[in-house]
């Protein structure tokens, strides 16, 4: 069993943290092979930022999967660039507060999460990635939510303990949205 995830957006949106938290949680919670590969443009600020995560029962081949089971996008640019990197039947997670465009793909599932809006309502736009991470876990169930949150507390919380409650709230809100989307998807099938 191999799960491949591609997360894409713009530098500063917490794209790389999203991917790293998934990996950390997978390392802590499972015996699986885990590989993370970041890629970013030459610009130090505002350029594209994306990362690839593979969680697998077998040793991971390419750190950069050709096609991913899940694609998470935080920008129109990323949506356009990465929607075709999604396996047929895969799931696209879209931050609808930033992405105004829709995917052309009709052979994939789409989970829409207004992560940026939720984060802004909470008073800190930076937690949008954690909200989206919550939705991702709530929908896919590939890792136990508490382990993912633990990983967030360990990494982000270590530097900024005062953000702990905020991170947890953002994650939980996302988790709920993800779970609802999954239930709705199950009901429609």
């Amino acid at each position: 069993m191999e799960n491949t995830v591609l997360i894409g957006g713009i530098g500063g949106q917490g794209i790389l943290v999203f991917g790293q938290l998934l990996c950390l949680a997978a390392m802590e919670a499972t015996d699986k092979y885990v590989t993370y590969f970041p890629s970013y443009s030459m610009e130090k600020r505002g350029g594209t930022s994306d990362c690839y995560v593979t969680i697998s029962d077998e040793p991971v081949g390419s750190p950069k999967a050709e096609k991913s089971d899940y694609v998470v996008v935080f920008a129109n640019m990323a949506l356009k660039k990465f929607q075709h990197a999604l396996n047929p039947g895969g799931t696209l997670f879209v931050d609808t507060s930033v992405c105004t465009e829709k995917t052309d793909r009709t052979d994939v599932h789409v989970v829409e999460v207004p992560a940026g809006e939720i984060a802004r309502e909470m008073g800190d736009a930076r937690v949008a990635n954690l909200c989206m991470l919550g939705a991702f876990i709530g929908y896919t169930g590939i890792l136990p939510p508490d382990k993912v949150l633990d990983a967030a507390h360990k990494t982000i919380g270590a530097k900024r303990p005062e953000l702990r409650a905020l991170n947890e709230e953002a994650f939980s809100k996302g988790l709920e949205i993800g779970a609802q989307a999954k239930a709705a998807h199950a009901a429609s099938v």
């Binding site: 790293q20 990996c23 950390l24 390392m27 092979y33 885990v34 590989t35 993370y36 590969f37 970041p38 890629s39 030459m42 077998e58 040793p59 991971v60 081949g61 390419s62 750190p63 950069k64 050709e66």
Partner: protein, 362 residues
């Protein structure tokens, strides 16, 4: 065993510290900047020395000086930066200085691109400088291997009193994977080694009966005629062919097709082999762990009567590793290639496709 989730570059630096590395000099170049950055924080904690050189040329000359004092020392760079270092790398081979050099390679020739590639195979294995010297060259394909090989590289450098080279790439340097870190070498162990190295190190002669001279054409601080030095080096390279060959194979016994690759390409090739096997193809896998000395024996042991071909997968155009495979296979089987360059990663699907094509060609 505790696993930590680490980036390749940082894991290499931490493994080096644990192996006893107490000196690092380097110059910024993508994609290896996290190695010097990590050392600059970490070395002061263990009483080591970090120096940012004014260039790769100077950094390698600094490494030469540090190695000449008998401590464990390292540098890293990437491709065109390694080319600049080739001056002092040649001197360190010429003067028999135990150091570790890590190339987190990128595109080429020239400045190429900052994206990863395997375009430095010949440079690493055949001509890292003038004068025909060779080094032991490790080629890790996972972060864990990068850790383990870095750790061993320091021991081998000391064993042979010679530079040891790690050829990795920007993918391995940038990727993160869980790793188990090796134990920290004790201060007692390092002090004893440094004491033993005083037999040749240049630190002021102390009470030694003869001054130590280190320069190209010296061994253990003593001059010898150049031809003699060249011969001794050659003898050492020949000994490596017995003692230092390292490779892995999988399913070669009944194989009708071999896929062979090293470093980052090897892990992708291996996953291609696994898929092809599941599809019923009799595919074997050969992967040199050290790319110098080249594991000719792995290819000599093949049953060529069964083989439909050998597929070489590497991220270099034109191919380089493939030439070494061709040299040992000597036309006993058709050789195919699956290549990428310019910062593009080699795809598993492309390897599978090329393998099937070669499989059906006979």
């Amino acid at each position: 065993m505790e696993r930590v989730f680490m980036k390749g570059c940082q894991a290499i630096a931490e493994a080096a510290i644990r192996a006893g590395c107490r000196f690092f000099a380097g110059y910024p170049i993508t994609p290896q900047n996290e190695i010097p950055e990590y050392f600059s924080r970490r070395l002061p904690e263990v009483g080591g020395v970090f120096l940012q050189g004014e260039s790769e040329t100077a950094s390698a000359a600094m490494l030469y000086g540090a190695g000449a004092t008998g401590i464990r020392a390292m540098t890293s760079s990437s491709s065109c930066g390694i080319s600049l270092m080739s001056e002092a790398i040649g001197w360190m081979a010429g003067a028999c200085i135990p150091v570790v050099i890590c190339n987190v390679s990128r595109g080429g020739p020239g400045i190429g691109s900052i994206q990863p590639s395997q375009q430095d195979y010949f440079q690493a294995t055949k001509a890292s400088g003038n004068g025909g010297f060779r080094m032991l060259v490790f080629a890790p394909s996972t972060v864990q291997e990068a850790v383990d090989m870095t750790y061993r590289a320091f021991d081998l450098a000391q064993k042979y009193k010679y530079p040891v080279y790690i050829l990795t790439d920007g993918f391995t340097g940038e990727m993160m994977e869980p790793v188990v870190l090796p134990p920290m070498r004790s201060e007692e162990f390092l002090a004893a080694e440094r004491k033993a190295n005083e037999a040749w190190a240049v630190r002021g002669r102390g009470g030694a009966p003869k001054a130590h001279k280190i320069r190209c054409g010296t061994r253990f601080g003593v001059r010898c005629p150049l031809e003699q030095k060249n011969k001794e080096d050659w003898e050492m390279y020949e000994r490596w062919k017995k003692d230092e060959i390292e490779y892995e194979t999988d399913g070669t016994e009944d194989a009708e097709l071999i896929i062979t690759a090293y470093g980052i390409s090897a892990r992708i090739a291996r996953s291609a082999v696994s898929i092809l096997r599941k599809e019923g193809y009799k595919v074997g896998f050969i992967r040199p762990i050290k790319i110098h000395p080249f594991p000719e024996i792995a290819y000599e042991q093949l049953d060529y009567s069964r083989l439909r071909g050998i597929l070489c997968a590497e991220m270099s155009i034109p191919p380089q590793f493939t030439y070494d495979v061709e040299a040992v296979v000597r036309k006993r089987a058709p050789i195919g290639t699956c290549l990428r360059s310019g910062g593009e990663i080699i795809e598993r699907s492309a390897i599978i496709e090329a393998a099937k094509k070669l499989y059906g060609a006979k």
